[in-house]
């Protein structure tokens, strides 16, 4: 199963490297949303709750693009049939797709978070890096597992582009709450962690629940 997972993941990453479809689009999207927020809020720099909200909403909206595109190449080029005919476990497919999405999100955040610091954030990002990275990684894990599941759920429907955001965004609300609340103290002028354990625990709980649920139900998706 590990071999199958690695093979599918390799294929997805290679595809992304050659076509450069998802990650650049998601990154560009985050930058555009920052500009929108700048004008929409009419503020040159943000801090505290407002900054955390803008950052997390932007990242989750960018994730929607990644999830919409997750099975796109397979469907458009008909590779999905080959993938389903291959004698591999569906769990391997789920793990590969979720890992691909996870890596895409990390790549996007490598640009989007520093860009946020440069463009909109009042206080610097410097002193809070380890905590911020931990929060982002935990959140990415949750987004990746829910995202892969939603992408597979929507893959067979007629109105995919519609179903994905409608389904994904409410499911991500707990992540948004935990992520924004956890990062908010670090984005204030007087930086310092606050209730960090509680929010990290919530993120971890979310990840555990949705990885387990996804693995359990993924077998029933993408059959025949």
């Amino acid at each position: 199963m590990i071999r199958a997972t690695r093979a599918i993941l390799r294929k997805d990453l290679l595809l992304e490297l050659r076509t450069k479809e998802s990650v650049p689009a998601m990154t560009l999207f985050t930058l555009t949303v920052y500009v929108l927020f700048h004008f929409g809020l009419d503020r040159d720099s943000l801090d505290g709750e407002l900054a955390a909200g803008v950052l997390w909403v932007t990242l989750l909206l960018a994730a929607v693009i990644g999830v919409t595109r997750l099975f796109a190449t397979e469907r458009e080029q008909g590779g999905i049939d080959a993938l389903l005919l291959a004698p591999v476990d569906r769990t391997a497919l789920f793990l590969a797709k979720a890992s691909a999405l996870f890596l895409f999100l990390v790549a996007v955040e490598l640009v989007a978070v520093p860009a946020f610091g440069l463009l909109l954030l009042g206080p610097g990002l410097g002193g809070t890096l380890p905590e911020l990275v931990a929060i982002l990684l935990l959140a990415n894990l949750g987004v990746a597992s829910v995202g892969a599941l939603v992408a597979a759920l929507a893959a067979e429907t007629r109105a995919r582009e519609l179903i994905v955001p409608l389904l994904l965004l409410p499911l991500l609300v707990p992540l948004l709450i935990a992520g924004a609340q956890a990062t908010e103290p670090f984005l204030r002028q007087d930086q310092g962690p606050e209730d960090l354990d509680r929010w990290l625990a919530l993120l971890t709980l979310y990840d555990v629940v949705f990885v387990l649920v996804s693995v359990a139900v993924f077998d029933y998706l993408l059959e025949d």
Binding site: P170, P174, L205
Partner: protein
Amino acid sequence: MYSKGLKPLSVATVVTLATAMALVFFYAPLDADQGFVQKIFYVHVPMAIVALCGFVAGGVMAIRHLRSGDRSWDMRSYVAIHISIILGVGVLVTGSIWAKASWGHWWVWDEPVLVSFLVVFLLYCVYYPLRFSIEDPERQARYSSVFAIVAGAFVPLNFAAVRLAESYTHPRVLSQTGGSLPGDMRLTFLVSLLAMALLFVTLWKLELTAKHASMQLKRLRRKLAEREAVTA
């Protein structure tokens, strides 16, 4: 098939509902600081509890469907979610009225239960576009069940998250449904809850019976059309 016991159940529902209404208006005392408007509590809270239980029950039925491959369980899960969504509209409307009457705003964001309910409601609204944009009936049943399970697991998680995020400014409703309710209010509340649960089960059975009957009718019509095609 589904209509067994529907008649006594309907009678029991009507009787319990009538008793609950009578208790609400003639037996339960007026709330000391909210007065008459507090009586909406006996509709709003049971409705919310029954709707949430209906969502979770839909998830459990979906598990049975995926486990057994019996599509009638998917139909049960679908109808349970369908009726819970209808009750959900009622919950949001009555909650809104209550909020306006007692806090002066149609919507309050610092009431964790109401906010979590809205998120859950928005998620379950996607059940319809998802279900009806899949044509193949077997696949439709399978995908809907997966949705029902995921969303069912999401319900408690979401409540925990929203509860954590809100400041505890309005714990009033919760403490009321807990142990601190005075005896006559508690009895009224429990009867209302029972009435709402019975109403849910009755509507669920009724809808299942109707769906089953119309499916059978369709099957018979198709058979008839086939026979006519052969003889013609």
